[in-house]
Subunit: 387 residues, 2 copies
Amino acid sequence: MPKCIPKDSVGIVAPQLLRFEEPLPLACGRVLPGFELMVETYGRLNEDASNAVLICHALSGNHHAAGYHSEEDRKPGWWDHFIGPGKPIDTERFFVVCPNNLGGCHGSTGPRSINPETGQPWGPDFPPLRVRDWVHSQARLADRLGIRRWAAVIGGSLGGMNAMRWALEYPERVAHCVVIASAMKLSAQNIAFNELARTAIRMDPDFRDGHYLKYGVTPRRGLGLARMIGHVTYLSDRLMGEKFGRELRSGTFARGTDEPVEFQVESYLRYQGNAFAESFDANTYLLITKMLDYFDLAREYDHDPVAAFRHARCRFLVISFSSDWRFSPQRSEEIVDALVAANRDVTYACIESDLGHDAFLLPNARYERVLRTYLADAARRLAEGGP
Amino acid sequence: MPKCIPKDSVGIVAPQLLRFEEPLPLACGRVLPGFELMVETYGRLNEDASNAVLICHALSGNHHAAGYHSEEDRKPGWWDHFIGPGKPIDTERFFVVCPNNLGGCHGSTGPRSINPETGQPWGPDFPPLRVRDWVHSQARLADRLGIRRWAAVIGGSLGGMNAMRWALEYPERVAHCVVIASAMKLSAQNIAFNELARTAIRMDPDFRDGHYLKYGVTPRRGLGLARMIGHVTYLSDRLMGEKFGRELRSGTFARGTDEPVEFQVESYLRYQGNAFAESFDANTYLLITKMLDYFDLAREYDHDPVAAFRHARCRFLVISFSSDWRFSPQRSEEIVDALVAANRDVTYACIESDLGHDAFLLPNARYERVLRTYLADAARRLAEGGP
């Protein structure tokens, strides 16, 4: 619980559930008969609706990006350090919109929701989604809020894929696209790590082929292991070394004892896995990791990212982190190279950090300065009527 | 099945089971009431028993390092490319000894063996081992074979830890120590990956707290996932990209279909996991990954590797591989630095390779040349009576 709400916080916020009645055709060919999005907004939409920023969350994120849900709330939203009055995504300037993604498990329509055709939760029968489906659902959200064009669409990791897809699907509706610690497509190694996580979930006897809700159980252990696997890959080797070294949590190496030894890093991972398993849905995890694997920015553009980006009309900011080996700087540089070849306006920064992929969520002076400067400049351009 | 046994093969070989009656005190304080080692040997021990080479296998290895078990054998031993007449570990010159390690599951005493006190398999009650316990059991093996001093002790990965521990525990009994793709201790990230694998095994309902043999079941899925996790970390990102890219094994990305898509890399990993789970023992996997985690070369030397290596009397060859991120070249260089500071004789080579940690098992011209040259030189020195 914060002693008091900090002055640079967006304060107490309340999510709202928005219902969209019109059926949504999906990339897979199926049609979602209406859907709901759980959304938080911070700041105020200006008169000409030109200051709206869309925040696209990553795999384990949700709509609660900033502020507190109550005075008793122990922790603020997941990107609170970056969103608020005077912060890099300045709510004095921007109207910030953050939905829980379609297929998610924090209030938006997803595998936990009731399938209107059966009256039962969708579970594993929820349609497979592509990132473009998120974009289309978010376009409906923009319509509902009266936003014709986003001042910026911002996302890290999978959220960066979401942001890039916006720039291609609705070129006229995005002024700036901010792509952080992302990639145009996953590598085989990345797909492999996702498959390990999915295997862990499917292996849990409580998974029941995805029908666990029907049986009143939760595949907590599988989901926990899935998260542990992800977590190891989001941290750098060096950070783990600094954070845990080879410190023991229990046991001893003394000769003459065979009590089990447990390293700090083991219990830390277990804690992370358990906490995640309490709040997340296994079918959502499977669904969204598949979206990550399938994403390939240029697939429909003859596998030519330059041709793909020629459709974009916005300016781009691309950010990577030096120690991120899951979405390495090389992946971001491929995005930059394609943008340059497509003659798009792009700013790129590789931020020195020991924090691995997780760096995109965490405080870092240079990262904040780059984001703040870029967005302040974007606001100035927009105020002058330019992109 | 080989059409014919190649000329540079050690040919048809037969493992032998050696029984050691004298109790073996273990680092944990318990005592193993006698033990058995399954062993293969290639080449001939010379008259003064000065040409014996000990091969220390890694986590998933065994005693079958070279040759074939029958004319119908489809595959030779796991290091056949390196061991044989005229090969880098030349059986015309050396008498090569490769035991399955204590605690293993390929014939040596381990969790699958009968605990003489209960008449039941040890299972999870098998004593926790340290790498030094392997060294002591292998010293008994040397005694039995009439080998006072090894011409060389050679090992990769965990086997390299085994080799280094030999050099410290029995300085007078090792002439040359060859440490390949190894480390003086694991990093927190390495421990984390091992813990993920152990969690997968313990999660399998067929694991039954390690008592699966009693129930006539095998935790195949958990063991398979454990192997999959390991396997991803043994390969480099680049190799996986070259080997699998984003090629599909099933399904299609065409719009208008929601059939599941499976990437090649996913089915490859599943195949590897299943194959391993058929042949390996889950309790052995837990036991040996813990040995890896616990290993810390300098723990008993006031955490000073230089002080530790001052006890060694042998010459060292240290080899690393450029794309190995599980046991990176940096880890090998730490070994080299400590050896140099301890005024030991050391040769070091970092081999260019895209194959990740697995490179230590696979053909590579420069790697073979380094090993061949070093060992030929060692043989010459030994023939001249030097170390």
